[in-house]
């Protein structure tokens, strides 16, 4: 077959498929040029990590046995004796970390540039739900190798959940961990990890993509003017995402190569008694808050209630932050709150990692967390103040420079102004000289002439200023 007729045949097949599915009018339609930026693809990379999780997870399912007696040995078998088993297991773990990290970055980016504003409120809520599902993936997957580290950390987490107020705690504990035996707990976590959570994630993803198709990507928060250029889906957008995906996968695999997984000892009550449990890094901030002595004992329900309330606030953010301004430089309060939240989360995570099992005194907790909040607030206040002063100073300087240049551009008005200045000056001087004899014939005429010339000068200056207005905004 000739080359021309082959490409024409492929083109015809593609057109036939597209006429039935309409992809070039929906998902594969051209996109705005500003979307060719890595921050617009954090969510897509997270989905990519999810797909990678699915593929590596399915491969591991070929060998993994979800029973208390065989979970550990089957995991060890994968790592030691299955071709590429260690690499696949490690990539599965690190892609889960990447998924959580990307979800967090996606959330932060969305918060700071206010993507949650009208009409994307429900996209935000669905995205938050997806974030919780991602954390659920982490929690349930962590237990499956049945090591002393994973089982002890999961027991701590389940213990925390059971402290939720009222009947909510026991009900959640039963739903997540089953009636109480180790076997039931492992089976429940396995089912949640490979069936329920992926299904919920996919449903939410479809819902979010549907809304994305309607509203599209949010414009940059700092975009002032200028025409948006549309770029075709193929090859520009497709190749850009292909490049990003290749770099993302490369980073993931190279980290897996350099830091391969090593399995801790198998769980047994004896091994667990010598081990201080600590959750995975993404739950360390919660763990650290619960170690504050003020939240010890029955007060743990208060801490969990506060954390739940914070999460709920984040969920409903689009419904009380309803202003139209999206530029973080013009939203000092929301931006400062966001920076404080990020700094506190990082601080609590590192602090929790460094102090496993250690109860934190209330005074230390108040000084350190409060200190971070105060320092961030002061830095933020100084930054915004300096920025506004600089902006105001620049605007004034620009306006003054433009105004000073105006008389040279409008000679007629400038000439009239100079003439009026001469008239007003001489008449004013005459008037002042006649103050000693106010009833002389010249006093009132020179006074009136001075006043009229001053009024005329004001009008001329106003005319110059008005003619200058269009130039003030130009840099």
């Amino acid at each position: 077959m000739r080359r021309g007729s082959l490409s024409a045949s492929i083109q015809r097949i593609a057109e036939w498929i597209d006429s039935r599915i309409g992809l070039t009018n929906s998902m594969l339609r051209p996109g705005p040029d500003y979307s060719l930026n890595v921050f617009y693809w954090l969510g897509a990379l997270m989905v990519m990590a999810f797909i990678l999780q699915g593929i590596t997870g399915l491969l591991m399912l070929l060998y993994y046995t979800p029973t208390v007696t065989e979970a550990y040995s089957s995991t060890l078998f994968i790592i030691k004796y299955v071709p590429l088993g260690n690499l696949i297991e490690t990539i599965h773990l690190y892609s889960a970390y990447a998924m959580i990290l990307l979800a967090f970055l996606h959330l932060m980016r969305g918060y700071f540039v206010s993507v949650q504003k009208k009409p994307r409120e429900l996209m935000w809520v669905v995205g938050m739900l997806m974030g919780l599902v991602v954390l659920g993936f982490g929690l349930t997957g962590y237990l499956l190798p049945w090591t002393v580290v994973s089982k002890s950390a999961t027991d701590v987490t389940i213990g925390m959940i059971s402290f939720m107020p009222g009947q909510l705690g026991p009900a959640l504990k039963f739903l997540i961990a089953g009636p109480g035996s180790d076997a039931a707990e492992l089976a429940r976590f396995f089912d949640l990890h490979i069936v329920l959570l992926p299904a919920v994630f996919l449903i939410l993803l479809v819902f979010k993509m549907y809304m994305f198709e309607i509203h599209g990507a949010a414009e940059p928060a700092t975009r002032l003017s200028g025409k948006v250029r549309e770029v075709p889906w193929f090859p520009e957008i497709f190749l850009y995402f292909a490049m990003l995906s290749a770099i993302f996968l490369a980073l993931l695999i190279v980290v897996a190569v350099v830091f391969p997984i090593s399995l801790p000892p198998e769980f047994s009550p004896a091994a667990a008694s010598t081990f201080t449990p600590q959750p995975e890094w993404y739950f360390l901030w919660v763990y650290q808050i619960l170690k504050f002595s003020v939240f010890e004992g029955p007060s743990i329900a208060l801490a969990l209630g506060l954390i739940t309330a914070l999460l709920l606030l984040l969920f409903v953010l689009p419904f009380f932050d309803r202003g139209k301004e999206r530029n973080p430089a013009r939203r000092p309060i929301y931006t400062t709150i966001g920076v404080i939240a990020v700094c506190e989360a990082l601080l609590l995570t590192v602090w929790g990692y460094l102090t496993p099992g250690q109860v934190i005194a209330d005074s230390d907790a108040a000084i350190i967390t409060g200190g971070v909040a105060i320092v961030v607030s002061i830095i933020s206040w100084i930054t915004y103040r300096t920025r506004n002063q600089v902006a105001l100073g620049l605007a004034r300087a620009r306006s003054f420079a433009a105004f000073m240049g105006t008389p040279f551009r409008i000679p007629t008005l400038t000439g009239i102004f100079v003439l009026l200045l001469a008239v007003s000056s001489s008449s004013l001087a005459t008037t002042i000289n006649l103050i000693a004899s106010p009833w002389s014939a010249m006093f009132f005429p020179t006074l009136i002439l001075a006043a009229l010339s001053f009024i005329a000068m004001v009008l001329v200056v106003r005319g110059l200023a008005v003619s200058n207005r269009g130039r003030e905004v130009q840099p």
């Binding site: 790592i79 030691k80 004796y81 299955v82 071709p83 590429l84 088993g85 260690n86 690499l87 090859p235 520009e236 190749l239 850009y240 292909a242 490049m243 290749a246 770099i247 996968l249 490369a250 695999i253 190279v254 897996a256 190569v257 350099v258 391969p260």
Partner: protein, 90 residues
């Protein structure tokens, strides 16, 4: 050689590198040399990203030379990485 010629030469080199490495990966022992497989697979991905970057730019002037240099250094490091792990995995 003109600048577009340089771009074509670079692209051809990357394609050849991708093909040779892919052929080599086919014969790597997947149980004993997992790290080597991972490092070379990463090199494939980096080379692919460089190739895409080269082909999406309208001309060679638009190609950031620092990115290309970083890619080449990354490729060299990735090819050298397996020699650091002579024992293989596990």
């Amino acid at each position: 050689m003109d600048e577009d010629g340089v771009r074509v030469l670079l692209s051809a080199t990357l394609v050849a590198f991708l093909a040779v490495l892919a052929a080599y990966l086919w014969f790597v022992d997947l149980l004993l040399n997992q790290r080597q497989f991972g490092a070379f697979l990463t090199a494939e991905l980096v080379a692919f990203a460089m190739l895409v970057y080269l082909t999406t730019k309208p001309d060679y002037d638009a190609v950031k030379k620092s990115w290309m240099l970083m890619g080449c250094v990354a490729l060299a490091l990735l090819l050298a990485l397996p020699f650091l792990y002579s024992g293989g995995l596990p």
